[in-house]
């Protein structure tokens, strides 16, 4: 909200008050009207001094007349009214103070309360008179220690949001590093993992470890296809990429994104059309070629892939949890494979057994999903609505 209403109001008020002359009434009755008895306000206050002039001056800017009449000699005017508590000579106590150049006068106590309130959150803020905008000057005994502590306090106060952001970021990074380390140890086995993650960490480990969960989640999104093969380049030294038989772990890791792309592509080729058919049987009322609204409200063309992918796409949480669980599931399948002497003989190291386990799991999962989709489509095909006459008798029995 701007000050528009205020300024307009001030203008109106000035116009009104200029038409009505200052009206000061004196009373001769007792001034025992400390107003603590609330019941007596209904017309029993003729004894109080009442000045329209000072009331209206509290809501209008000081004019030049105010300045000349009230300059330096407010002590001499017979009628005083505190602009904060409206207390007057007759009914209030306390030291009077005129702190600015306009006609406003107040009790020192009232003004100090107001200044304290304005400075509550920002102790170094300058407080001005609401009418003439004069900065109030305070005479105070300020020790250097207090000044120093005040600066420290307000610095801390204003830096809290940054600390919060830093803290949250730090916590996320720590969580990610722990996840990354745990996933690595799970995949390569305890001994190898401890050797890999031995301190001091090289910059590659520092950089890659917190990104492990991010990469895993990325691997479930199609938009990451172009960048995924580049990711292993971040943490694998070129001289590790020797073609050996069996391939060394670095080489296997850098092959995985390509394997992923090829697998997805051939899956699409083999089952894409079939899945689309089942989908259209399940939801025949949805036209696959129509344009749907994207997540951000942007209109994007809906292609075949999206239709097939919707079961997964509809549930981001499922994808993320699935991606993060993948290393541990791979390790479980891998250690299961390790129980067979045949596999153990062919693939001696844990890492490759686990990678194989992960691949087998993905294939198994896709087969299960495919079967489920097929069953659902079949189920939908066999569905029909029964005639009422068929079951009307059944329910009556």
């Amino acid at each position: 909200m701007s000050s528009t209403p205020f300024s307009q109001y001030a203008r109106v008020d000035r116009a009104e008050s200029s038409s009505s002359p200052p009206l000061i009434e004196f009373s001769n009755e007792d001034s025992e009207s400390s107003s603590s008895r609330l019941v007596t306000y209904d017309g029993q206050f003729g004894e109080q001094l009442n000045s329209i002039a000072s009331t209206s001056s509290s809501t209008q800017p000081a004019t030049s007349i105010d300045l000349t009449t009230s300059n330096n000699n407010f002590e001499e005017t017979e009628h005083k009214r505190c602009w904060i508590c409206f207390g007057e000579d007759s009914d209030s106590e306390g030291k009077w103070v005129k702190a600015c150049r306009c006609s406003l006068i107040s009790h020192e106590e009232c003004l100090l309360n107001w200044i304290t309130e304005k400075q509550r959150n920002t102790a170094l803020r300058k407080v001005r008179c609401p009418q003439c905008k004069t900065v109030y000057h305070l005479a105070e005994q300020t020790s250097y220690l207090l000044k120093f502590l005040t600066v420290v306090d307000s610095t801390i106060q204003s830096s809290i949001p940054y600390f919060t952001i830093f803290g949250v970021t730090f916590a996320v990074a720590i969580t990610n590093i722990h996840y990354g380390a745990y996933a690595t140890i799970t995949m390569v086995g305890l001994e190898e993992g401890e050797r890999l993650l031995e301190e001091p960490w090289s910059w590659r480990i520092c950089f890659t470890l917190p990104l492990v969960p991010v990469f895993l989640i990325f691997s479930r999104a199609r938009f990451a296809d172009p960048v995924m093969p580049l990711i292993p380049m971040l943490f694998i030294r070129m001289n590790q990429l020797r073609l050996t038989m069996p391939p060394n772990p670095s080489f296997t890791i850098s092959l995985l994104p390509w394997a992923r792309i090829i697998y997805n592509w051939s899956y699409q080729r083999a089952f894409g059309r079939l899945e689309q058919e089942w989908r259209s049987q399940l939801e025949p009322y949805i036209n696959p070629t129509e344009i749907e609204n994207g997540e951000n409200g942007n209109i994007r063309p809906r292609n075949d892939q999206d239709v097939l992918d919707r079961l997964d796409r509809s549930n981001a949480g499922r994808k993320i949890v699935g991606a993060l669980c993948l290393p541990f599931i791979s390790a479980m399948v891998g250690s299961f494979l390790g129980k067979f002497p045949f596999v153990r003989g062919r693939i001696p190291d844990t890492f490759h057994r686990n990678i194989l386990g992960g691949c087998l799991f993905i294939v198994f999962k896709d087969i299960m999903t495919l079967t489920y989709k097929y069953q659902r489509a079949k189920h939908r095909r066999t569905r029909h609505v029964r005639e009422y006459s068929e079951f009307a008798n059944e329910s009556r029995q």
Binding site: M1, S2, S3, T4, P5, F6, Q8, Y9, V12, D13, S20, S34, S35, S36, L38, V39, Y41, D42, G43, F45, Q48, N50, I52, T55, S58, T59, W83, I84, C85, F86, G87, D91, S92, L104, C110, N113, W114, E117, P130, Q131
Partner: protein, 163 residues
């Protein structure tokens, strides 16, 4: 402190009674027992869609008044971009951050009255009214306001006259 609040409020009441404000049909505490809750009745400005309406305001005064601002809300339903249609809450800076003890209950009410004819659609509490203004449909806005004024703010006047 409580005594100081009472003293200031009684003087404000006195000032109002001495020189009644034609734009403010009523300004008084709701009961003799509690001076910290007031009612006010605003008259809509003429030549605005609020013309002819009477709105009741509920003013709740904190014990720390006038260091802290009073809480003012509309009891009568009103259609205005900066006033909540459901709760009657008012978005006005002088009732929050820009408050100073130089304001009185009467001047605050007059500021609210001026807010009626000077809406600020960029910080709305009533999005429907604000959207009409923001897309420049002044005719639509005025007829909407007029309709609600007639529906709620004029009935009340009749009710008061009848009762």
């Amino acid at each position: 402190m409580a005594e100081a609040v009472a003293r200031r409020l009684l003087k404000e009441l006195k000032d109002y009674q001495k020189e009644p404000n034609p734009d403010l049909a009523k300004l008084s505490p709701i009961s003799d027992d509690n001076i910290l809750v007031w009612n006010a009745v605003l008259r809509g400005e003429s030549d605005t869609p609020y013309e002819g309406g009477h709105w009741t305001l509920r003013i709740e005064i904190p014990k720390t008044y006038p260091i802290h601002p009073p809480k003012i809300k509309f009891l009568t339903r009103i259609c205005h971009p900066n006033i909540s249609f459901k709760t009657g809450e008012i978005c006005l800076d002088i009732l929050k951050t820009a408050w100073s003890p130089a304001w009185t209950l009467q001047s605050a009410c007059m500021a609210i009255r001026l807010l009626l004819s000077n809406p600020e659609p960029t910080s709305p509490l009533n999005c429907d009214a604000a959207n009409l203004l923001r897309c420049g449909d002044f005719m639509g806005y005025e007829s909407l306001v007029k309709m609600y004024t007639q529906l709620y703010a004029m009935d009340q006047q009749e009710n008061e006259a009848n009762s």
